[in-house]
């Protein structure tokens, strides 16, 4: 079985985020690049499936990123993935969700796959749109926001998080799932993994190598950022002063009743 995990390289999540007003894009220089934290859950999910399935199951990391990000991709290999495919091409710079999804889909189809696992979103642009778009271009069922995942042969069973609870979903492979943070606790790469990752292959391809037959990148983007605004600061909450817990609780209940919340 071939499991492919899509990952994104993002600016260090602990660093302060700044937007360049002229390009309306996130400033990536001077900030350390890391593996998108959401993607670590996808890698972990893939590794757990591989450990359970055994046999000739492989986990391949796929990313659209500059070649300078090789070292970060190696972290995914140190966690236990078998190899990686990097699509690195200056012409891909500035790709929007459409361009990225299209390019990844072409590369994944060319590589062959049974299951694609993605994180729900990236910490930089946070659109959360890529998994859905990718499933569409791959022409396979896309099961998003998965918190529990089971695979029995080619039968996939999943629990999808919804606004009110969760939905049980089943489908057959090939398929794509995106996983949430509640699915697992990603492992640290071990030292053995780090030393072993040196010997694993990271195949670097141009867009043409990956079979991307349409222009992507900033010029071909189908979406445009027209304006950026800082969300208004949240208003201060209302603070009740009360003599004791009972009086306090009464006031809170009154407040909720007025708004028909209880």
């Amino acid at each position: 079985m071939k499991i492919l995990v899509t990952v994104k390289l993002v600016p260090d999540t602990t660093a302060e985020k700044r937007i360049d007003p002229s390009t309306k894009r996130l400033v990536r220089t001077g900030v350390e690049t890391v593996l998108n934290p959401f993607d670590e859950y996808a890698i972990e999910a893939a590794l757990q499936l591989k450990e359970k399935a055994g046999g000739d199951t492989t986990v391949t990391i796929v990313t659209l990123a500059p070649e300078s990000g090789k070292e970060i991709v190696r972290k995914a290999l140190a966690m236990g993935a078998d190899d990686a495919l990097m699509i690195s091409d200056p012409a891909a710079e500035g790709s929007d969700v459409w361009g990225t999804a299209y390019a990844l889909a072409q590369a994944i189809k060319k590589n062959g796959f049974d299951l694609v696992i993605a994180g729900t979103q990236s910490t930089d642009s946070t659109t959360g749109e890529l998994p859905g778009a990718l499933a569409e271009y791959l022409g396979v069922p896309g099961v998003t926001y998965v918190r529990k995942l089971d695979l029995d042969g080619t039968a996939l069973k999943a629990e999808r998080e919804t606004d009110t609870g969760y939905a049980k979903v089943s489908t057959d492979l090939p398929a794509l799932v995106s996983v949430t943070k509640s699915i697992n606790e990603p492992r640290y790469p071990s030292l053995k993994g780090i030393m072993g990752a040196k010997k694993k292959t990271i195949a670097v391809q141009t867009l043409a190598d990956a079979g991307v037959d349409k222009p992507i990148g900033s010029d071909a983007a189908r979406t445009e950022v027209t304006n950026l605004e800082t969300p208004p600061a949240r208003g201060k909450g209302q603070i009740f002063e009360a003599a004791d817990a009972v009086a306090g609780a009464t006031k809170i209940v009154e407040f909720l009743r007025e708004r028909k919340l209880v």
């Binding site: 070292e71 140190a78 640290y188 053995k192 990752a197």
Partner: protein, 382 residues
């Protein structure tokens, strides 16, 4: 000249930074308050391969280099000095003697479980009456009917009494050499040796979560083959261990200073007085700039010593300079970190308060600042 770390060194430092931030740091305050040995963290470090970081894979290690080791110790100590010394003592003092001087059989028997982190081991050089004056050792071992009978006391021995500890390597007098000076040899003393007992853990100013005890040997009998290395080679062997140990302690100091700087910087940005963050005041900015400058300097020295060791150069001078300098830097940095925190820095719920207490031993352990200056002067040929 190349200041770039290799991909592997960066990955190991990154792993340790993440592990320390997510797993060690949240535990530090409680472990300090309860003087609680971090068994769970040792198990996790073992799982990651940190406990055998610099030893070859064939002996259960990860086969990484000294630069990686120094970076790992820095990152762990940055979150918690007690966990840092537990790791550093395990690798540099507990395991290294077997790697450097053990027979193949001793390596298989002791180094392999140590490198895997399944077992801990003490290193007993210091005695109540013999610290840096290692020649003043009084513990004796006498060969009788194919067994060494050990009598004496060892002081301040790290990792010597945990539930995982398998024993301690000690120096003991085994006779007199040709010049009439005491002949010192090294011995492997398993934990279950009759006559070998450990005190309770010391009550300490800092490093409270590390396991440090006094060891007592009363007619403790060990098999003849428990001699480590050559008979009479003990002092030289232990001095070799201490040379490498200086890189460890220097890395602990740099890590502690980094941790205190992190706390001070975050606090200065957060704390508002007179209508602005105190980080906007030049008095605070100057302190932070000085702290960063000294940390960077100390870190470069430690990494240089580690690099020299990895490349087979004579690293003794650089390691001594790095140990001395980074110990003193850690004092200045924790001091200013508390100062920046003002009254809160004196409170136990702020990590800088613990760091301030954890710092002092950096200028004492493995050779005081004064002894370190003597070592350096001697290396100058004075």
């Amino acid at each position: 000249m190349d200041f770039d770390l290799t991909d592997e060194q960066r990955a190991i430092a990154g792993l340790c930074r993440e592990f320390a931030r997510d797993e060690v740091k949240p535990r530090a305050e409680e472990m300090d308050a309860k003087a609680q040995f971090p068994y769970d963290l040792v198990a996790k470090m073992a799982e990651l391969g940190l406990m055998g970081l610099p030893f070859p894979e064939e002996y259960g290690g990860a086969g990484a280099d000294t630069v990686s080791y120094a970076l790992a110790v820095m990152e762990i100590a940055r979150a918690d000095a007690s966990t840092g010394i537990t790791l550093a003592a395990h690798v540099s003092l507990g395991s290294t003697p077997f790697y450097l001087f053990g027979t193949e059989e001793q390596k298989r028997r002791y180094l392999v479980p140590l490198a895997r982190g399944e077992m801990l081991w003490g290193f007993g050089l210091t005695e109540p009456q013999a610290g840096s004056d290692a020649g003043g050792t009084r513990t004796r071992a006498e060969l009788r009917e194919g067994r060494w009978i050990v009598n004496g006391t060892k002081a301040f021995i790290t990792n010597s009494g945990t539930e995982l500890t398998g024993g301690t390597t000690i120096t003991a007098i085994t006779g007199t050499d040709a010049k009439g000076r005491p002949e010192i040899s090294n011995f492997i003393v398993p934990q279950d040796t009759p006559g070998f007992t450990r005190s309770k853990t010391y009550r300490k100013m800092g490093w409270k979560a590390s396991d440090t005890r006094e060891l007592s040997f009363v007619d403790a009998a060990i098999p003849e083959e428990n001699l480590l290395g050559r008979r009479g080679g003990g002092l030289k062997q232990f001095l070799t261990i201490l040379d490498g140990g200086r890189i460890s302690v220097a890395a602990l100091s740099v890590g502690l200073a980094m941790g205190a700087y992190d706390e001070a910087l975050a606090y200065a940005k957060d704390r508002h007085q007179f209508g602005q963050a105190i980080s906007k005041f030049q008095a605070i900015q100057f302190k932070l700039a000085d702290m960063l400058m000294e940390i960077e300097h100390a870190k470069l020295m430690v990494l240089k010593a580690a690099w020299e060791k990895d490349n087979g150069r004579d690293y003794v001078m650089t390691a001594s300079l790095a140990k001395l300098y980074s110990g003193e830097v850690s004092r200045r940095v924790v001091n200013e970190a508390v100062q920046i925190h003002g009254g809160y820095g004196f409170m136990d719920e702020y990590p800088v308060s613990r760091m301030y207490r954890d710092q002092k031993i950096n200028e004492i352990g493995e050779g005081t600042n004064e002894v370190q200056r003597l070592v350096i002067a001697r290396l100058m040929g004075l």
